[in-house]
């Protein structure tokens, strides 16, 4: 649409560059036999970076075997390099005959007792640059048209810690970290199944980030996998920093406020979803793992629901849905009751509210909007401030300001109560990402309510419902167990039935094996 508008005003569009053009080297360069040429080529591409290092050595101390070790200082384990690579290369290689270098050199290097798991030979210089940038050491040898790659990268990362955002009362207290391999190991150690597949794609032109796609082969839907691979291959981006980037690009419908994929930092949650036949996106550099495909109800579920007794789990889920309802519509219902339909309230209550509102100069909708906006301000400032000061904001903003506003007669106490309940409810929604759009939706609803009372609220709800029904996550209905209704999936939605009765995997995420266990259940598909 913007293109059209720009065209209309005669604004020229910059031509869209494809990812290939951004690449460092356009044509493929082969590694030549001449060491100097290789180094010159390398330097042309990498010399500007301060931390690029190339060190000339003589293999086995022999003048005839010049070689160069190239690497980037900041992402390589230097001590290891000196002790375990340079030393053996310089001292331990024994040459039998000085003549037939070309044939033997590969064998010699291979036979060298280097204590490194991942080594390989590559023939193209572009590849070599890629490997160097990834934190590997590349060894060029004179008169030899291949380069030897040694993986000794050491990237700064933190160790496994407790979950920061999704804290839980029960269950594993590990959280994913920014390191892809560590994350995969957290998954791998929990599923000892040979069907657990982990594919790593290098995505995106500039950052060349590793993207792990993780699924259980005989559970995940192959159709979704195919689509996912398609979307990964078509990804046209400069860089990815967080899975949030991918989510926005992989969405079926990008014009939606609702999160289409769930992100989690808890391995147990990820595993639970893997076992339901879902696919995980593990991006290097972020502790958040995306779950594909996602249904709306998932945002209201936490791992503890399954760990606790099912009565407790179900009750808490119902509580969360009530909280969602309150978050979205309590302020608007209050507005419509107070400004349009006070006769709906019991007389005593109506009188109480009327008395408190006597001195308030604002109409109720304005009062509500002011209060709700200031609540959002408080919340946002609380997040941005460092932990210790953040609490002060809560006290100053919530207690002092609220009290003062009521005493000054600017705001009526019932309004403060409504706003406070809304705020508390909005924090009951376990997924922070899902809570944001729901919290914001109450503003349009408040505006509708102030104009059209309950009629406006119902229309607003219908709008939200239509939108939810139309959404799809990888062609799977987003609002799934409810619309379209999947009777068998309702067992794990608003309530959670005992684990004994959850013999079947959810049908919403179409998958191959319906039964979780060998126990027999009817596997009649609904749609």
């Amino acid at each position: 649409m913007w293109n059209r508008i720009d065209k209309f005003f005669g604004i020229s569009q910059p031509k869209k560059e494809t990812t290939e053009h951004i690449n460092i080297a356009k044509e493929k360069i082969v590694i030549s036999e001449d060491l100097e040429t290789n180094l010159n080529n390398l330097q042309a591409n990498l010399s500007d970076s301060v931390d690029f290092n190339s060190k000339d050595i003589l293999l086995g101390g022999n003048q005839n075997y010049k070689a160069t070790v190239t690497y980037i200082v900041s992402i390589v384990n230097q001590q290891y390099l000196q002790q375990e690579i340079l030393k053996p290369l310089m001292l331990n290689i024994k040459f039998t005959s000085p003549e037939d270098t070309k044939k033997n050199i590969k064998q010699l290097v291979q036979q060298l007792p280097l204590p490194i798991g991942q080594t390989s030979f590559i023939g193209s210089l572009n590849e070599a640059i890629g490997e160097i940038l990834e934190g590997k050491v590349v060894l060029f040898i004179n008169h030899f048209d291949q380069a030897f790659v040694l993986d000794i990268k050491e990237l700064a990362s933190r160790s496994v810690e407790t979950p920061q955002i999704e804290s839980a009362t029960r269950g594993p207290q590990e959280a994913f970290t920014e390191n892809l391999e560590l994350n995969i190991s957290l998954i791998r150690k929990r599923i000892r199944d040979n069907n657990l597949m982990i594919e790593v794609h290098k995505v995106v032109a500039r950052t060349k980030t590793d993207l792990g796609v993780c699924y259980i082969n005989d559970l995940a839907d192959q159709e979704i996998l195919k689509q996912l691979n398609n979307r990964i291959n078509n990804l046209d981006l400069d860089g990815v920093v967080d899975t949030g980037y991918l989510d926005q690009y992989f969405q079926d419908n990008w014009k939606t406020p609702f999160p289409i994929f769930q992100n989690t930092e808890r391995p147990d949650k990820a595993i639970h979803n893997l076992l339901e036949g879902k696919i995980l996106l593990v991006l290097d550099g972020t502790p958040f793992v995306s779950i594909i495909p996602t249904t709306f109800i998932q945002f209201f579920q936490t791992p503890e629901d399954y760990y606790d007794i099912f009565y407790v789990g179900s009750a808490i889920r119902i509580l969360r849905l009530i909280a969602t309802f309150i978050t979205v519509s309590l302020p608007s219902l209050y507005i419509s009751l107070v400004s349009f339909h006070h006769e709906l309230l019991p007389t005593d209550l109506a009188l109480t509210i009327a008395t408190t509102r006597q001195e308030v100069p604002f109409p109720s909708y304005l009062e509500a909007v002011i209060m709700e906006v200031s609540l959002e301000l408080l919340r946002e400032s609380g997040i941005r401030l460092p932990g210790a000061i953040g609490q002060t904001i809560g006290i100053v903003g919530g207690l002092v300001l609220g009290e003062a506003a009521v005493n000054a007669g600017l705001v009526s106490p019932p309004m403060v109560i409504v706003v406070a309940i809304t705020a508390i409810s909005s924090f009951v929604i376990p997924d922070y990402e899902a809570a944001i759009p729901l919290r914001l939706l109450r503003f349009p609803l408040m505006i509708l309510a102030s104009f059209f009372s309950v009629y406006g609220i119902m229309v607003g709800w219908l709008f939200i419902l239509i939108h939810l029904c139309s959404l799809e996550s990888f062609n799977q209905p987003y609002f799934a167990p409810f619309a379209p209704i999947k009777v068998t999936d309702l067992k794990d939605s608003i309530i959670r039935v005992p684990l004994r009765l959850m013999g079947q995997r959810p049908h919403s995420t179409a998958n191959q094996q319906k039964d979780r266990q060998t126990r027999k259940g009817e596997s009649k598909d609904e749609e």
Binding site: F340, H341, E343, L344, L345, P346, F451, F452, S453, V454, Y455, G456, M458, V459, W461, L462, F463, L465, I466, H467, C469, S470, N475, P477, F479, F482, A483, P484, I485, E526, E527
Partner: protein, 369 residues
């Protein structure tokens, strides 16, 4: 359009059941008890059952006709059956019918909204709000509508359940003497129900999008059963509570009924019903609007249903303001109901007959190709 629809666009038969229920039960339900008891008096419940049973035949013919042209809608195959001129005229009547019924049901909807919720807000603004919501649903397509309908069916069921307490205060003498009104009155009453039963003809349009075409008749019968039971329930409860004589003086008996129930701390229970009824009526209006815009899109071979919905806007606004008052509105509903009766009860069997005589349809087409 003649190509087979891809599986992703299809709706399940289960969803068809809910679409038919939601399109049919809408604006009619509020006034039906009064209208029908005017004629059939204490035997209204028999009249409703009778009125529902007519539809079994109609649905059967609609299904048979549809399965002759499983990949086409009535707008498309009417030209094949009747030739281009007659076919176009028939299509146009269907288009006109669906526009009129949309406008009429919106009118009744807005009347209730104005009476109970927003007496001071200009009617045209109230109208615009609901129309915008309809347009949004139409832009999302049939599949979304199907999902919304099946979801709302279960969510809105409490709206009917809140009426149950009035049974305690019902007087069962209001139904006696059974069959005392006479056969002719019962029959006349069953014809009055037609307006409330309009809606299942949407099958004529969405037939190509239904997954299992063989079970369409079965699905539509299930929905017809649920619709008839709903009306029966409402009529029995209202007559049982008010009695036939009182019922004549109540404009929306279904709403007024709830005034009888008093729950401590919650002043007006009927308000709860109106609140939920907004959604019930919306699904009906939106589905009629969808039907209208889809048939217009097919008639003028437009690809975009939303565009045709926009084209219809001025017509709906015009038709909306034609009835001057509430009495005229109900007169118009009767006219539309008669119009609909011809289109739904007479035309499909006739078309089917001509198809068979001319050797058109699914079987013969299969032989040719």
């Amino acid at each position: 359009m003649k190509n087979k629809k891809s599986d992703r666009e299809m709706i399940a038969n289960r969803q068809l059941v809910f679409i038919i229920i939601q399109i049919t039960v809408g604006t009619g339900i509020l006034s039906l008890p009064r209208q029908i008891s005017l004629v059939s008096r204490q035997d209204s419940w028999i009249a409703v059952l009778l009125g529902g049973s007519y539809w079994v035949f109609s649905l059967f013919f609609i299904y048979k006709l549809g399965s002759q042209f499983p990949q086409q809608t009535i707008i498309e195959y009417s030209e094949i059956i009747l030739g281009s001129i007659l076919g176009k005229i028939l299509s146009l009547t269907y288009v006109l019918y669906s526009i009129t019924i949309t406008a009429l049901s919106v009118r009744i909807f807005i009347m209730v909204i104005t009476t109970y919720i927003l007496p001071k807000t200009p009617v045209s603004i109230n109208l615009s709000i609901i129309i915008i919501t309809c347009l949004y649903l139409i832009s999302k397509g049939l599949k979304t509508m199907a999902r919304l309908d099946e979801f709302l069916f279960f969510v809105l069921a409490p709206a009917y359940l809140v009426m149950i307490p009035t049974i305690l205060k019902s007087n069962w003498w209001h139904f006696k003497p059974i069959l005392g009104t006479g056969i002719k009155e019962i029959f006349d009453g069953s014809l009055i129900t037609t307006y409330s039963f309009l809606g299942p003809e949407i099958i004529l349009l969405i037939f190509p999008y239904i997954k299992e075409k063989k079970n369409i008749f079965k699905s539509s019968l299930i929905s017809l059963g649920i619709i008839t039971l709903t009306y029966l329930y409402v009529i029995i409860i209202t007559i049982g509570y008010f009695g036939v004589e009182t019922l004549q003086y109540i404009l929306w008996p279904t709403i007024n009924l709830l005034k009888a129930i008093k729950i401590p701390f919650f002043g007006r229970l009927e308000f709860f019903l109106i609140f939920l009824w907004i959604a019930i009526a919306f699904t009906s209006i939106a589905a009629f609007y969808y039907m209208a815009s889809y048939s217009v899109a097919q008639f003028f071979s437009l690809k975009n249903k939303l565009l045709s919905a926009f084209i219809l806007l001025p017509i709906i606004y015009y038709l909306f303001f034609i009835p001057k008052n509430i009495i005229e509105v109900f007169e118009y509903t009767e006219i539309v109901a008669q119009f609909g009766t011809i289109l739904i009860f007479v035309i499909p069997p006739l078309l089917l007959l001509i198809t068979k005589l001319r050797g058109l349809g699914h079987e013969s087409q299969a032989n040719n190709s």
